[in-house]
């Protein structure tokens, strides 16, 4: 793309919503992976495992398994990371209800600029860079949570070298985007699906009521061979019918956006997670301030007391035996940390983690 074309596109983008802040996708350059940089054996349970804000979801049980990782990019100008999916167990007997999608779920508060009116939406465009081990048909899809006209898909044939792919969703009526912190739009990359989702004709013309059979006809299966890989980066969603150059942003901004949906509370200076007060000889309540206001009061999954210590009034660390979330708001979480004994009710206390411990608070969609 020429520089003149870049400037022309950016000028058009400015008319549509601004030169900066136009990308509705968080972590589109795949730079933030607070949970893990690589997880193996995925395919049975939905969830967020590696790169922030990118979820994997499944339908009926599949034999297919894969590794999801933050890969290093060396052959695409402007990018250093990608999200990589690598099939490790095949599934060639695909039941009707099977599916495997990579999703990015968008919050209503962040989508209001897509509105043309309370019952209609402007055109918007997805762009992303991708490459695969071999030519691979995938589908991208948008599905609104509410409204009458809510779903549209597009087929893409991904090649073996990095290339940019786009999907423009035309302006539509009978659409609805609630102005709240709920999930209002799901962007999906369809990578494997059974006949429930592939037996119709792909709905690639306009937003329409969702028909399952029209969501992913024509796609291949990432689970067809253990040779199969797919890498994606530079994901951008913006108002208008033109894909403008990818909007790079500073890492602090991206991290803060990600932390609205989850953060690792062990990533605190000097291992000190929070401070509070002993409520008896065997427990203390510790307040953890969130680095930014979270989307909702967060869940604490997999609480791990190993490597956690609570200090008593003398400043001596006592090994924790259990950690529980007692209460939470979007801004602060109160942890109940148990020890065998040695605390004194009313005395100040700190919770510290060693290098082996982590705990992730999540308020994902």
């Amino acid at each position: 793309m020429s520089r003149a074309r870049d400037f022309a596109d950016l000028a058009g983008s400015a008319d549509a919503g601004g030169i900066t802040g136009r990308n509705l996708v968080i972590n589109g350059a795949m730079q933030v992976a607070q949970r893990n940089t690589s997880v193996t054996g995925l395919g049975a349970t939905d969830g967020y495992f590696t790169l922030d804000r990118f979820k994997v979801a499944f339908g009926a049980a599949s034999a297919g398994r894969f590794t999801m990782s933050q890969s290093t990019v060396t052959d695409l100008a402007g990018f250093s990371n990608a999200l990589k999916l690598d099939c490790t167990t095949i599934d060639t007997s695909i039941a009707a209800g099977e599916l495997f999608v990579l999703q990015h779920i968008l919050e209503g508060f962040n989508l209001q600029k897509l509105k043309a009116s309370s019952t209609s939406t402007q055109a918007f465009t997805l762009s992303f860079y991708a490459k695969s081990n071999a030519s691979r048909a995938i589908a991208t899809e948008f599905e609104f949570t509410n409204g009458t006209n809510r779903q549209i898909s597009k087929l893409h044939t991904i090649g073996t070298s990095w290339a940019r792919y786009t999907m423009t969703v035309p302006a539509a009526s009978s659409t609805q985007i609630d102005n709240d912190n709920s999930a209002e739009l799901t962007m999906s990359f369809w990578l494997h699906a059974g006949s429930t989702y592939t037996s119709g004709t792909i709905n690639d013309d306009a937003l329409a009521p969702t028909t399952s059979a029209n969501r992913a006809p024509g796609i291949g299966s990432l689970f067809a061979s253990t040779d199969n890989t797919l890498e994606i980066t530079g994901v951008q969603l913006e108002i208008g019918e033109t894909a403008t150059p990818f909007e790079h942003e500073d890492i602090g901004t991206t991290l803060r956006k990600c932390q609205r949906y989850g953060f690792n509370i062990a990533e605190v200076v000097s291992g000190r997670v929070g401070a509070g007060q002993a409520i008896g000889s065997g427990s203390a309540d510790i307040l953890v301030n969130h680095p930014t206001t979270m989307r909702a009061a967060p869940t604490l999954p997999n609480p791990d007391a190993t490597g956690a210590n609570v200090t008593n009034g003398a400043g001596t660390g006592i090994a924790s035996t259990a950690i529980a979330l007692q209460s939470a708001t979007p801004n602060v979480t109160r942890l109940r940390v148990s020890v065998s004994s040695g605390l004194t009710a009313g005395q100040g206390s700190q919770l510290t983690f060693d290098a082996t411990n982590d705990a992730f608070l999540k308020a994902e969609l």
């Binding site: 349970t45 967060p298 869940t299 999954p301 007692q326 209460s327 708001t329 994902e364």
Partner: protein
């Protein structure tokens, strides 16, 4: 979400403010915020008659 157990946490005699949940084989603590996706799913399953939340100890 395959929930195998749900129990309110003790809050020193006051009203519980979170639930200890085991779902998809993972133990987690869920605050009582309807915007929290896990709590929303708990409420959905309770409303459907598929789940009962046990009282706190």
């Amino acid at each position: 979400m395959d929930i195998t157990s749900a129990k309110y946490t003790s809050n020193d005699g006051a009203e519980s403010l979170s639930i200890k949940l085991v779902a998809d084989g993972i133990t987690m603590y869920v605050p009582l915020d309807p915007a929290n996706t896990e709590y929303a799913e708990i409420l959905r399953q309770v409303d459907a008659g598929d789940l009962t939340i046990a009282d706190a100890d």
